[in-house]
């Protein structure tokens, strides 16, 4: 397949043929290994366990029960079918009023009702993925930049940059102060941009953080607000993990900070939200852009035409999120189960001397394996990562894929499996550390290079579009390439 016509002209656009989709990062390689050998408790007990996927699978039983008790929430049941017609033709980009009301209420509830959200400021989008791209299109032009603290979610490279032409500039954070976002780091990043003649349009923060699992404290949030006000740039706050905070300190949303000081320019603040993490519904594609800026809401709404939420889903979600009793129970239960899972893992890892960054949110742990590296380099981290995939048989995500400035950190997802698998994963880690503690730094060249070859081959395969593979877990095949985004 040639990218060039016989007259020498390009067949497709640059966007279609460049690497802007960011899928050639090592972040995705682990999944390909998982894909070819997925763990199953009975059918493939020695397969690779997926720990690279930030999904919340701990509370489905609660939702299922709610669905059984509320058949009218689906327009396909006999109890709900009288709504079918009206919902099926509803394509208004304002969204169903009951949907917006329910989402606004839910967002407030998740923040302990310390703030209220205005349903008229809610703009729909195709998941948080769509939301990030949309807000970037609204705020920045090609060539402009957004500052983003490292480490950060690899999907941002695609979501904010690919089709928008905008670039991301890192605000480097260090483990020496638990990766806190400091004013100094912000100023440094900004100055660098100015020097390079790059126009900075905004700052993007994720709170709670992916991959750290930590929340930003009040001082940091105030510092961020003061910084953006001073530079007159936008602040985009990705709060998609807001309801995954499972213990103190309490989550503080930027929505609270805004209320603190009348001097803050609200027109600069925008929140990205989604139900993919808090509720565990990534398949339903419910993304939200919440902006305090009227012009952005107006423009964003028009743009949302490119990724509206299915009205069938809006209707279901509106129904579910309006059930106060259910939501209260869900949020409490969810936090409890996440806390337990978090403790199980951190205790288990501590037993073999593996520390994690102290965290109280998210669906993952930020694991410190610096001590296992033969040297403090990205190459050594990559070598260790291959050992973890190939020998320990766990798909984890290396810190370098999150643009972490220090080698040796790994994100492992812990909420996308049942308790049984949790035990297996921990046992593998523990056994491996105990068996090889002193040997971990040794180079295992032969099978590493095999793996490298295998992974490169698969990468090319995916550029040429490889067919879906069946997962033994579910009747529905899953593509690791999409799951890799989270």
């Amino acid at each position: 397949m040639s990218y060039v016509l016989s007259n020498g002209k390009p067949l497709l656009s640059q966007k279609a043929t460049n690497d802007g989709h960011a899928e050639n990062s090592p972040y995705f390689d682990g999944w390909k290994a998982y894909d070819s050998d997925p763990f199953h408790p009975t059918q493939n007990p020695s397969g690779v366990i997926q720990m690279g996927l930030a999904e919340h699978q701990l509370c489905f039983n609660l939702v299922q029960k709610w669905l059984e008790n509320n058949p009218e929430a689906s327009i396909c049941t006999k109890e709900g079918v009288d709504k079918f017609r009206d919902i099926a033709i509803f394509q208004d980009y304002h969204g169903l009023p009951e949907f917006r009301n329910a989402v606004a209420k839910f967002m407030g509830r998740v923040r302990g009702d310390k703030v209220r959200f205005d349903p008229d400021r809610i703009v729909m989008s195709g998941g948080a993925t769509g939301a990030h791209e949309l807000i970037t299109f609204c705020l920045a032009d090609p060539g402009d930049a957004f500052l983003v603290p490292t480490p950060y979610y690899p999907g941002f490279d695609r979501d904010l940059c690919w089709r928008t032409g905008v670039r991301l500039l890192p605000v480097v954070c260090h483990s020496s102060n638990n990766f806190k976002v400091t004013r100094k780091a912000l100023e440094e990043a900004y100055a660098k941009a100015v020097e390079a003649n790059i126009t900075v349009k905004g700052l993007l923060i994720t709170n709670p953080s992916n991959p750290l699992g930590t929340i930003l404290d009040r001082d940091t949030l105030r510092e961020a607000m003061s910084f953006i006000n001073e530079k007159n740039i936008h602040l985009v706050c990705d709060e998609i993990y807001a309801a995954t905070v499972f213990r103190q300190p309490d989550f503080i949303s930027i929505a609270e900070i805004i209320e603190e000081d009348q001097e803050y320019n609200r027109d600069l603040v925008h929140i990205i939200y989604s139900l993919s993490k808090d509720m565990g519904f990534p398949g339903f594609r419910v993304g939200i852009v919440y902006s305090y800026n009227d012009a952005v809401v107006e423009c964003g709404r028009k743009m949302s035409s490119f990724g509206l939420v299915s009205s069938q889903t809006q209707y279901l979600i509106a129904s579910m999120l309006s059930d106060d009793q259910f939501i209260e129970k869900f949020l409490l239960e969810s936090a409890g189960r996440l806390a337990t899972r978090h403790k199980d893992f951190t205790d288990g890892l501590r037993q073999v001397g593996i520390k994690c960054l102290n965290s109280n949110a998210g669906l993952f742990l930020w694991m410190d394996l610096k001590g296992f590296l033969k040297e403090s380099t990205v190459e050594a981290e990559t070598d260790l990562w291959r050992v973890i995939i190939n020998d320990v048989k766990l798909n984890v995500s290396p810190g370098s894929s999150f643009h972490c400035s220090e080698p040796g950190w790994f994100r492992i997802c812990i909420a996308n499996m049942n308790e049984e698998t949790t035990k297996v994963a921990l046992a593998r880690i523990q056994e491996f550390v105990q068996r090889n503690g002193d040997k971990l730094n040794r180079k295992e060249k032969c099978w590493q290079s095999d793996l490298r070859l295998r992974l490169s081959f698969r990468r090319m395969d995916d550029v040429l579009r490889s067919p879906c593979s069946m997962s033994p877990h579910s009747p529905i095949p899953q593509s690791p390439l999409v799951r890799a985004r989270t």
Binding site: L5, K9, F84, G126, R163
Partner: protein, 469 residues
């Protein structure tokens, strides 16, 4: 504050200042309702298919297992809630391509691996253009065309649209001369032509393309080495002869040729099945790179898994699809006939059409002068006095004043009858010279007029320029 936003946020390439959308705004303020607001504006500017919901509802009542996220009695809620694979639900893609084949009389076959799911045709068209073109490039589109293309194809992609002017002299068919002139115009504007985009069946014309037109297009894109996008979202609304010929049928003759990779189809379930709210669109292409790139881009607007699942069950039911396709056509045909004959009685003719959810109505004889200004005046009368929201040809970039798109499938038969009566009464009053229309309403509409004038000037100026070349 405007300076703080992007160029895209502050320009109006979203096209929403167009009269196409302004008419809707007026409708929203005063919508017709049989009992609660019988004097309100009847919506005839919305190409929706509301004729066959009963068929869908009765299927649902017989297939309750699908509702409530169940498969064979077992809950699959968890799997669906987690399913975000941009390759899409395999059973849905399979059912969808089979549905597309059935609509085309099984004269073509589609490969489910070559289809990309998107959030509606809106997203499909934009995504395809992102893959084919960028700033400095142009897509040629025959006029008149769907006003939404200005937003979908240009706004965020940076690409330009150059019109291929079609006229009533030959029923608005595409000619070789018109294609060449458009190509030349693009060159004169320093734009690189990347492709041609056609809608077949046509919106707003309601006609299907002839074999001659399809062959002409193929020859043209082969010669110029450019792409062809065929928006076939109305393919299931062809209610009478001539039979529908999809570009995919024509393409089957070119399997080994270079052009095989350069023809793409856009589809959606918004028109054929009447489900615009569910946001189900698709891109179909033989070009592996496009499928790969578009698949990744679809991340920005995937189809809800809940919706994919429901539709995979619906469309896999061959008994249902066969019945639906044929019954839907019958109802559209009947409705179309009602509108056309009703207008005929009022002395108004329509372009002869065999598809779509609308008629392309000729009101040139009702214009005060052969100008777009006169068209806008007539349109205002129709919206405010006759109380019908219809779409003026100018909003569809028609090069001749006096044509209007009137939708007929988004209302009950009774409402359509009332609409026809209103038109009849209006035409009679015009012919009697009792033109009370604009006078008293001037001050009320002053803001609307200002919007129109700016927009009309901008649009007609550009179109005039094009015509003069």
């Amino acid at each position: 504050m405007r300076l703080m936003l992007s160029g895209k946020a502050t320009c109006n390439s979203h096209g929403q200042d167009s009269s196409y959308f302004l008419g809707w705004e007026e409708y929203e303020k005063n919508p017709y309702d049989q009992t609660r607001n019988p004097q309100g504006i009847i919506q005839m500017g919305l190409a929706e298919n509301q004729l066959s919901f009963d068929l869908l509802e009765s299927w649902l009542s017989e297939n309750q297992d699908i509702a409530g996220f169940k498969r064979n009695g077992k809950s699959i809620f968890r799997e669906l809630a987690l399913f975000q694979d941009y390759h899409g639900l395999p059973e849905f893609k399979k059912a969808l391509v089979q549905f597309m084949e059935e609509i085309r009389g099984n004269k073509v076959s589609f490969d489910p691996n070559k289809i990309v799911l998107t959030a509606g045709a809106t997203s499909a068209n934009e995504t395809l253009i992102f893959c084919l073109a960028e700033k400095g490039d142009a897509i040629l589109i025959p006029t008149p065309y769907y006003p939404g293309f200005d937003r979908d194809l240009k706004w965020r992609t940076g690409a330009e649209i150059v019109p291929i002017h079609c006229t009533s002299s030959n029923g608005f068919k595409i000619t070789a001369r018109a294609l060449e002139r458009a190509y030349q115009e693009a060159q004169n504007r320093n734009l690189k032509v990347k492709g041609v985009l056609v809608t077949n069946p046509s919106n707003p014309l309601g006609t299907t393309m002839t074999q001659a037109e399809l062959d002409l297009l193929m020859d043209f894109i082969i010669e110029k080495q450019i792409h062809l996008v065929s928006d076939e979202i109305y393919s299931g609304t062809v209610f009478s002869s001539p039979n529908y010929t999809s570009i995919m049928e024509v393409l089957s003759k070119y399997e080994k040729a270079e052009v095989w990779d350069r023809v793409h189809v856009v589809y959606s379930l918004s028109k054929d099945l009447g489900l615009p709210g569910f946001r189900v669109g698709a891109i179909y292409s033989n070009n592996d790179s496009i499928v790969a790139a578009a698949t990744k881009m679809s991340s920005f607007g995937l189809v809800s898994s809940q919706t994919q699942y429901f539709l995979s069950a619906l469309l896999s039911d061959k008994k249902f699809t066969k019945n639906y396709i044929s019954e839907n056509k019958k109802r559209l045909k009947k409705r179309h006939a009602s509108l056309v004959s009703g207008l005929q009685n009022a002395g108004i003719s329509c372009l002869e059409s065999n598809a779509g959810l609308f008629s392309w109505v000729d009101m040139r004889h009702l214009l005060k002068s052969n100008t777009f200004k006169a068209e806008m005046e007539l349109w205002e009368k129709i919206v405010y006095d006759v109380k019908l929201n219809i779409s003026p040809g100018l909003s569809c970039h028609c090069s001749e004043p006096g044509w209007f798109r009137v939708c007929f499938a988004n209302m009950t038969e009774e409402t359509l009858e009332i609409a026809i009566q209103r038109i009849k009464a209006f035409v009679e009053s015009v012919s009697r010279g009792h033109d009370k229309a604009i006078g008293g309403k001037k001050c009320l509409n002053i803001n609307l007029r200002k919007k129109f004038s700016k927009w009309v000037f901008r649009l007609s100026f550009h179109d005039r320029e094009a015509g003069e070349r």
